[in-house]
Amino acid sequence: MLETINLSKSFKGKKVVQDVNLYLNNGESVGLLGPNGAGKSTTISMISTLIKPTSGEIKLNGVNTIDKPGEIRRISGVVPQELALYQELSAYENLKFFGAIYKMTGKELEKGIQQALEFVGLEARQKDLVKTYSGGMKRRLNIAAALLHQPKILILDEPTVGIDPQSRNHILETVRMLNQKDGTTILYTSHYMEEVEQLCDRLYIMDHGKIIAAGTKAELLSILSTEDTIKVELNKLDETFVEQVKTIEGVRKVEASHLQLKIIATKGSNLISKLVHLAEQHHLQLINFHTETPSLEDVFLQLTGRTLRN
């Protein structure tokens, strides 16, 4: 129902989003994954019509949303990355305002507010001022504010940033309910791999403004199907050893942290005996090693040479 075609955005000549092509089918739950500064928020702002693309198109059921933003605004709800709430007011007052700007009044507004509060589990605290809320509760209210007009598409921009695991699970559960029970189409941005893995049917991986991989979890993992991930722990680690590991035949990528090495290598390259041999030459002891089934983190590492979260 929604697609972007070569969507690009530059700020002062700096390309922040480049040729992004993505689509959302009705009822789908799609993740947009990428490290800080990848361009996720910028992409989402263009889709929600808050900023105009430098080039490219966005189509909702075939109609260009850049010229006619009315329809997409009507059927979509946006949960911004920042807490767009009046801290000095109560949750109830906030929702009353955000409902009123959607021209909701009277009973309909009241019902909408209570429904949204119930959905995020805040009905008991609705009269309290937002500034007295915990970080997780504020995040939940931030979501509730986008649900009042019952959007068909819900766009969430890192809705779980900086909160405790319990609130995070609550939010993930809420989004899953919206998707599975109400059939709301979800576009979920995050830099937490686990969240997107849990929640989304399909995902896009974004880095430096470009989509670098797309597909279902299985499809993305198949990128690594020809590879093994091996974790090795040593008693010591030295630079030359790491450099030499990189030159072993079949090794694609090496990451060192503390005394651990994470190595991605072609399947069946008989790495272990070579590693043992090399460690002996350097008078190092292998304390521990195991082969891992690849995760989406590994896919990201493979694609970009970096881990997601730093």
Binding site: S48, T49, S76, V78, E82, Y86, L89, F97, A100, I101
Partner: protein, 366 residues
């Protein structure tokens, strides 16, 4: 638009102290600097010449001509001490034909005293100059009786044929301080646009069916209403409780105040167009605002500022026009027709500043 008004009102209802403190501040400032109408400021006078008491006596009677000030003979030591300790703003040291002001600061009250004293001394100088050239008789009483019944008399009359009331500095200061506080209040309210932009609430409104004009109208109207509330409360208080002279045409005065408020909101909007964050606004606005009354001469007798550059700059802000219009309504019984130019000026400033301001804000968010 109604929802914006409502939500802004909710915020202020939660913390009304802020507005109330501002209102109290403007009342206090007026009382402090303008004084009550029925207790003219006392100004110490003294002389350190040889014939001190003679000089003191002579000038005491000459200076105490109207009841805007009460000049009192005081021991020189004590007068100096009082000024130094801040118990008095100003004292006057008298000489045979000249004087010196003793003051530690440049409060509006000091320049007002100076203007009065200067006038008296100049008149005396003229009289004694005439006496010298004529060299005979009682020139003073002659001049005085001549002036009292001159062949050409300039008679100033109000529309209702009553004697025009004398210019009252307290009233001018009342409006100067009230408007100063108004400028702060309306600025902080206009700054909510930037606040809500930074927090993302603005974006929520953009995505909603609300029209952008309604959004801007909501913020502007709220600033307008809350500022008018402050002005009206203060005016009524001073008119009916403190018995200040604010004229009989209160409606016209309030109308001028309304034009002023709109015009100044537009200027605040213009400044908003130049800043990115509410903090930047807080840094710029409060340092700019106190300058406006200074440039506009709101603390001084009309006509004190003569520098053409300052006069031009003052004309760019609505305060000078509002003060001029209001003073002419109160003291010279000017009607709507007479203040029309001032109103139009304020409207023009308002429309231009608002247009440019909103344009800048919109461009910023692209």
């Amino acid at each position: 638009m109604n929802s914006v008004l409502w939500v802004q009102f909710c915020k202020d209802k939660r913390s009304p102290l802020f507005i109330l403190l501002f209102i109290a501040g403007s009342i206090l400032a007026t009382l402090l600097f303008a004084g009550g109408v029925y207790s003219p400021t006392t100004v110490a006078i003294f002389s350190e010449e040889e014939n001190a008491s003679e000089i003191e006596k002579k000038w005491e009677s000459l200076l105490n001509v109207d009841n805007s000030f009460k000049f009192e003979i005081v021991d020189p030591e004590k007068a100096r001490e009082n000024v130094k300790d801040g118990n008095m703003d100003v004292a006057v040291m008298l000489m045979e034909t000249d004087y010196r002001l003793v003051a530690t600061s440049e409060l509006p009250s000091v320049s007002y005293v100076q203007q009065h004293v200067e006038k008296v001394f100049q008149r005396e100088a003229q009289i004694s100059a005439i006496a010298e050239t004529r060299g005979e008789g009682d020139v003073r009483s002659e001049i005085e009786s001549y002036l009292a019944d001159a062949p050409f008399q300039l008679e100033t009359q109000g529309l209702d044929s009553e004697q025009v009331p004398k210019y009252n500095m307290s009233t001018q200061l009342l409006f100067a301080f009230t408007f100063l506080i108004s400028m702060f209040i309306l600025g902080l309210k206009v700054n909510n646009v930037t606040n809500d932009k930074v927090s993302g609430i603005w974006d929520r409104m953009i995505l909603s069916p609300m029209k952008k004009t309604s959004m801007y109208c909501g913020y502007v109207l709220y600033s307008f209403l809350i500022t008018m509330f402050q002005i009206i409360v203060v005016l009524l208080l001073f008119k009916y409780v403190m018995n200040y002279e604010v004229g009989d045409n209160l409606w016209l005065v309030m109308m001028i105040a309304a034009f002023f408020t709109f015009s100044m909101i537009s200027i605040a909007m213009l400044i908003t167009g130049f800043v990115r964050t509410p903090e930047q606004f807080y840094a710029i606005y409060p340092s700019l605002i106190p300058l406006i009354p200074l440039i506009s001469g709101a603390y001084m007798m009309p006509g004190t500022i003569t520098n053409p550059v300052l006069l031009f700059v003052a004309d760019l802000f609505p305060l000078a026009h509002a003060m001029e219009a209001i003073m002419s309504v109160i003291f010279y019984d000017a009607g709507l027709q007479d203040v029309m130019m001032s109103l139009l000026f304020m409207l023009l400033i308002g429309v231009v500043a608002m247009g440019v301001g909103i344009n800048l804000i919109e461009r910023r968010s692209k």
